[in-house]
């Protein structure tokens, strides 16, 4: 439900995971995710809505990555998204969402007695790949508009079995255009179809286990939208609302033979503002080949 929602939930996992692909390795994944909530924050007021019931957003996302060098990887992410409300009369929407293209570069690595510290920088840009409307939240499949993000990640990989990581990103969101001539948000009537989208920052901390074919990260993500209004009492959400959340994610990844790997994940929003208290489950299959 956020400017960066499209990328922050899926693409950013690819962008901020701190892992680079080896040189000349091409990885392709398909990820299915199911995100649902039956409570949301109307501004700061947590509530249910009988005309929504449970809001479910499902997606199938194609993710590809390629190791350009041992310290530079590029990624591309494209989700197909569909939404549905379990109650009420509102029609769900579906379609191809936003293509995100990103690059990740390992800036430096420092070996210590206990393990290696690395720093990464990342950049990503995304654009909607279909003319979906961002003006029917929470049933819109995204927030429209273009985005550009810069990210800095510090990672520690111990010589033993654990790792830790901290990451922060700033996402710039372009203005979006609605199909109507006027809208009201943040205490003001705007007599234009153009909406100024607030930029977004997110921070994450993660820690996890790597052993043999297993990798199990747990991540705490916080998103803060730098502006925007609150959902008014009994109003619908609006595309430029101040959408904040704190979410915990966990994943289990297992490397199969022959370049295959599987991943299952789950996430839950612990606190939020103008977003649903969603629970997400996902599963994905990856295939990597070395050229």
């Amino acid at each position: 439900m956020v400017c960066a929602a499209g990328v922050s939930t899926l693409a950013s996992q690819a962008v901020d995971d701190g892992d680079l692909l080896p040189r000349r390795m091409l990885s392709t994944s398909v990820v299915y995710a199911r995100d649902s909530w039956d409570q949301y924050w109307e501004g700061t007021l947590k509530r249910q809505n009988g005309n929504i019931g449970t809001l479910t957003t499902q997606s199938v996302t194609w993710v590809s990555g390629y190791g350009v060098t041992d310290r530079l990887s590029v990624t591309a992410v494209l989700p197909y998204v569909w939404t549905e409300a379990s109650q009420g009369t509102l029609h769900g929407l579906r379609g191809v969402q936003d293509l995100t293209v990103g690059a990740k570069y390992r800036l430096l690595t420092e070996d210590t007695r206990h393990g290696a510290i690395s720093a990464f920088v990342g950049a990503a840009a995304s654009l909607p790949m279909s003319d979906y409307t961002p003006d029917f939240l929470p049933l819109s499949i995204g927030t429209g508009g273009g985005r550009a993000a810069g990210r800095l990640t510090l990672a520690f990989q111990s010589n033993a079995w654990w790792f830790a990581r901290a990451s922060a990103a700033y996402t710039w969101c372009s203005n979006v255009t609605l199909d109507r001539a006027a809208y009201y948000t943040d205490g003001q009537l705007y007599m234009t179809n153009e909406v100024a989208m607030p930029n977004v920052v997110d921070y994450s901390l993660s820690a996890g286990v790597t052993r043999g074919r297993w990798r199990i990260p747990v991540t705490l993500v916080q998103q803060r939208t730098l502006g925007g209004g609150d959902i008014r009492r009994q109003d619908m959400p609006f595309v430029s609302d101040r959408m904040d959340f704190t979410r915990i994610d966990a994943a289990v990844m297992y490397a199969l033979p022959k370049g295959l790997s599987v991943r299952v994940g789950a996430g839950h929003v612990l606190a939020g503002r103008n977003v649903g208290q969603s629970t997400t489950v996902s599963s994905g299959l990856s295939y990597a080949i070395q050229f």
Binding site: L107, A182, M197
Partner: protein, 518 residues
């Protein structure tokens, strides 16, 4: 650390790329239609003789004769303006620039903003019931009012009709006394707003501030502070700009407030207070419809919400007697058990399931649902730009908005009278598999309110701007069909609503054509 100089360069490049993305673009979006300083296309010097809407005549409220421009008191007023003009702050200059766009247009914009702010239905209580907005406690949750389309149509019409009568009265006294504006009397006073040959006493800006603020405070009591500040700013801008002296302003304010009181008294007894009805009353309507063998409308909201203003059809119209409202009611909709109804339900389902992106855009363009300025507000938005481009003077602009909004108010009364006479179910009640790409209005289906409002509005605007009639007809038709695309109306609702709106507009138009305005 193993930084090499080339790495440092890469790092710096990455950091500056991020910095560019962060600060590189100006995204500010201005909230308003741009209104250039109003150089009115005409004086409308005869407007004091044009027919009144509610007032008995232009002298119903008396304005005492002003002092001569040679009197000591008036000269002191001129000195006060000169003194103010020597020390204008940027905020004062901004206020002058804002109000120079035209008082009627500015108040219309502000009324649309108030409607959008208050157009939210009450949230349900935990026991599944809904609280009613309370005019005596307007700041509580839910705020008063719920400025839904009928309420909004009425609000726009009271504001516009009161402004129109007040300005006609002001024009009468202006040309009776013929006292020029201070910038014309004393050429050391700068004309910071366009100053015409229009006599300054009583000040039209002050008349508008008084009439608009008192009418809006009655309609939107929780916005009292903002309304009051805006009105005071308008009077100050008239003074600072050299367009009016303190006595021009005082006389205008008193005239505006006296005329507002007449309109507010009418609003207090126009039937709005009882338009919500009681549960027993609207359930009786449902029972009567069921007794005729028809399927009665039920709320599709969860929990079910009482219908929107079921007795708004009894609210007093501007140009139609209650018997006219009943006489113009559209013929019955197709029976809910008829083949035509089944065909129309399946047309809605097919339309929604096969909706193109362009059709969805049309549904969104005209949706004007909860939280917006409503369909009547949309037509005011359309009219405002035309009034601006035509450089209509204040009284001419007020006349256009008055007839537009009186016709839409009468359309709301007529439409609601018909909706609650037939109590016809929405498509998604007839077929629960129909999901709507826009919000489903919580009142009966037949006839379509959008179609009625839009036909009435298009007819009035075509009278005022005949060169644009084809555009208004196209907008009216698009607004109508948008409700089929939205999955919330049958074709017969749209056809009947359009014809109904056309008939209702003829009442306003016959008044407009005979009001004496050239």
């Amino acid at each position: 650390m193993r930084f090499s100089s080339s790495r440092d360069i890469r790092w710096a490049a990455a950091a500056s790329a991020v910095a560019l993305m962060v600060g590189g673009c100006d995204k500010a979006v201005g909230p308003f239609e741009v209104l250039p300083p109003l150089e009115a296309a005409g004086l409308d010097a005869t407007a004091g003789n044009w027919r009144m809407i509610v007032l008995t005549g232009p002298t119903q409220v008396t304005v005492a004769a002003p002092s001569a421009t040679t009197s000591a008191g008036y000269v002191a007023e001129l000195d006060a303006i000169k003194s103010a003009q020597r020390n204008l702050t940027q905020a004062q200059r901004n206020a002058i620039a804002y109000w120079s766009g035209g008082g009627v247009l500015r108040w219309n914009q502000f009324a649309r903003e108030l409607v959008a702010r208050y157009n939210l239905p009450p949230a349900p209580r935990s026991d599944g019931t809904y609280p009613a907005p309370d005019a005596e406690n307007p700041f509580a949750d839910p705020n008063f009012p719920f400025a839904n389309p009928p309420y909004a149509a009425r609000a726009y019409s009271y504001l516009s009709a009161a402004q129109y009568d007040a300005l006609k009265a002001a024009w009468h006294w202006k040309f009776q006394y013929n006292r020029p504006s201070p910038a014309k009397v004393d050429n050391t006073i700068a004309a910071l707003m366009p100053v015409s040959e229009l006599p300054a006493y009583p000040s039209e800006d002050a008349v508008l501030s008084g009439v608009s603020a008192d009418v809006l405070r009655a309609l939107f009591p929780a916005a009292v502070e903002e309304i009051t500040l805006k009105a005071a700013e308008q009077r100050n801008a008239a003074l600072w700009s050299g367009r009016a002296t303190a006595s021009d302003v005082a006389a205008g304010l008193a005239l505006g407030k006296a005329i507002a009181a007449i309109f507010v008294a009418r609003a207090g007894t126009d039937g709005m207070r009882t338009a919500g009805g009681t549960t027993a009353q609207w359930q009786a309507i449902a029972s009567a419809v069921t007794a005729q063998g028809e399927i009665a409308w039920v709320s599709r909201e969860i929990p079910p919400r009482p219908p929107m203003l079921p007795f708004f059809g009894q609210v007093r119209a501007w140009t139609m007697a209650p018997s006219d409202i009943v006489a113009e009611r559209p013929a019955s909709p197709p029976s809910t058990s008829s083949q035509q109804m089944r065909d129309e339900v399946s047309e809605v389902r097919r339309t929604v399931e096969g909706l193109s992106r362009q059709q969805l855009a049309i549904a969104f363009k005209w949706n004007d649902g909860a939280g917006t300025y409503t369909p009547p507000g949309h037509w005011n938005d359309i009219a405002a730009e035309l009034i601006r481009d035509a450089r209509m003077g204040e009284v001419r602009a007020a006349r256009t908005f008055a007839y537009l909004n009186m016709a839409m108010h009468d359309a709301a009364v007529g439409c609601w009278e018909a909706k609650f006479a037939y109590y016809n179910p929405r498509p998604s009640q007839m077929d629960a598999s129909i999901k709507t790409p826009i919000g489903l209005p919580n009142f009966p289906s037949y006839p379509s309110g959008h179609s009625t409002f839009s036909a009435a509005a298009a007819a009035v605007l075509s009278y005022v701007f005949p060169d644009r009639a084809a555009d208004f007809d196209a907008m009216r038709d698009e607004a109508g069909i948008s409700r089929l695309y939205g999955g919330i109306h049958y074709t017969s609702d749209i056809v009947a609503g359009k014809a109904h709106g056309d008939r209702i507009a003829t009442y306003t138009l016959s008044l407009a054509r005979s009001d004496g305005a050239p």
